[in-house]
């Protein structure tokens, strides 16, 4: 097996990885997770909060990233992920994620909120849960 893709993960404030070799990817899109394998069709798709998994072949390690909203573009052998916020699983600050989950849940349980606020905090809860889950993943691997 060999690497079919090179992956860029870009955010407005930093370049997470550039030209990362990958054999396949799991991408969280709005309409569900997609699996990008060899010879995938050219696609542009919207992303949602979730885990991006990049699987390398034999020598290259698998890598995992958190993703919030953004887009993914697959073109020939190049995959570009543009997202607002992203971090790799071993960078996640578990304590902070737990704290923000608590905060967001407390806000959600209080009443008198506009729909927008509910949405905002719901997204916060989603993000925190994702981070906690992925931080756990990173630890169990060590």
């Amino acid at each position: 097996m060999s690497n079919h893709y090179t992956v860029d993960v870009l955010t407005p404030s930093r370049v997470l990885v550039k030209d990362l070799p990958a054999e396949s990817l799991l991408v969280p899109t709005e309409s569900g997770q997609i699996n990008v394998l060899e010879n995938h069709t050219h696609i542009v798709t919207k992303l949602t909060t979730g885990q991006l998994s990049v699987f390398g072949s034999a020598d290259d390690p698998d890598r995992f990233f958190t993703i919030t909203s953004g887009v993914c573009k697959v073109l020939n052998d190049k995959v570009v992920i543009l997202t607002q916020v992203s971090e790799e699983n071993h960078e996640i600050d578990l304590d902070r994620a737990k704290l923000s989950l608590e905060n967001a849940e407390r806000m959600l349980s209080s009443e008198s909120m506009t729909d927008e606020e509910v949405q905002k905090y719901q997204r916060k809860v989603d993000r925190s849960k994702l981070r906690i889950q992925m931080a756990g993943l990173a630890k169990s691997k060590k």
């Binding site: 870009l10 696609i43 542009v44 543009l82």
Partner: protein, 288 residues
């Protein structure tokens, strides 16, 4: 002719200046490193976003977004990004020149908005000044720039203005920058680029969800991101320019101290020689 006392004073004050300029150089070098990191990590995202929008909007038929529409409204806004502090060589003056040229040549009716006061101070009397943005810290955050962007975009959408430009210095390297004026809105493509894109992509992408949905989300993002990268560019260029300005100021100071010291030593030597001659000739006359 200057006397020794004056020269001593001069040397002392030049040494003081030297201390200040070399300290400023160090500070700028540290700030430059930070600003350079920020711009180099933000550029790939901005470029990729821009090229994606270009490709998709050229390939997709019958799509339009308010940000893409050309209007014949002559009024426009130029957001001029400069610095709040001076002592950075041509950083501000070159931008002033560029803006002045542009305003002189254009057939539009521009109103100038400002980030940073230096360019405004020079050019305020010559042009139509809109307003000046102030930020909490020296470097505006992404959030603050988003607000600025929203305000300009709102004016564009309501038809109050027909175009939005940004004038800033592009950061090339620590010693080089290019003043430039770039059109942000509308992000229209001319037919040439459209055909070029179509030649490059004989196939279309598969979109999920519909391409219009994707573009609706990307286009406002791209506007703000481009605005933000131009502010980052400008910050990096400012620190780079100040660093090299302070570097040359420091070496000029050193040179001045050296030549002043030589002059002073010559004067001192001359004074000693004159005194010696007086003593010797006095003694001679007694002997005589």
């Amino acid at each position: 002719m200057a006397n020794i006392k004056d020269l001593k004073k001069k040397i002392k004050s030049t040494k003081g200046t030297l201390k200040i300029t070399s300290a400023m150089k160090l500070v700028s070098a540290a700030k430059l490193a930070k600003a350079q990191l920020a711009i180099t990590s933000s550029r790939p995202y901005a470029n990729e976003l821009e090229s994606s929008i270009k490709t998709i909007s050229a390939l997709v038929q019958n799509y339009s977004h308010p940000y893409l529409e050309e209007t014949d409204n002559k009024r426009c806004v130029v957001l001029v990004v400069s610095s709040n502090k001076g002592l950075c060589a041509g950083f501000n003056s070159q931008l002033v020149k560029e803006v002045r040229n542009w305003v002189g040549k254009t057939d539009l009716d521009p109103k100038l908005y400002f980030i940073g006061k230096k360019v405004m101070d020079v050019i305020a009397d010559e042009v139509n000044v809109g307003k000046k943005y102030e930020f909490e810290k020296a470097d505006p955050s992404f959030q603050e720039i988003t607000e600025v962007g929203n305000e300009l975009a709102e004016m564009f959408k309501t038809g109050e203005i027909g175009k939005v430009f940004v004038a800033y210095n592009i950061f090339n390297s620590a010693i080089s920058f290019t003043p430039t004026i770039k059109q942000l809105l509308p992000m229209s493509l001319d037919e040439e680029t459209k055909t070029a894109v179509k030649d490059e992509f004989p196939f279309d992408f598969k979109y999920e969800p519909a391409p219009a949905d994707i573009l609706n989300e990307l286009i406002p993002q791209a506007f703000v991101t481009t605005l933000y990268t131009s502010v980052l560019d400008s910050a990096a260029a400012e620190h780079g320019s100040r660093m090299s300005a302070m570097d040359s100021a420091s070496s000029n100071c050193k040179e001045a101290v050296r030549s002043l010291s030589i002059k002073m030593n010559k004067l001192r030597q001359a004074a000693i020689t004159t005194e010696l001659i007086e003593v010797v000739s006095g003694a001679e006359s007694l002997n005589g």
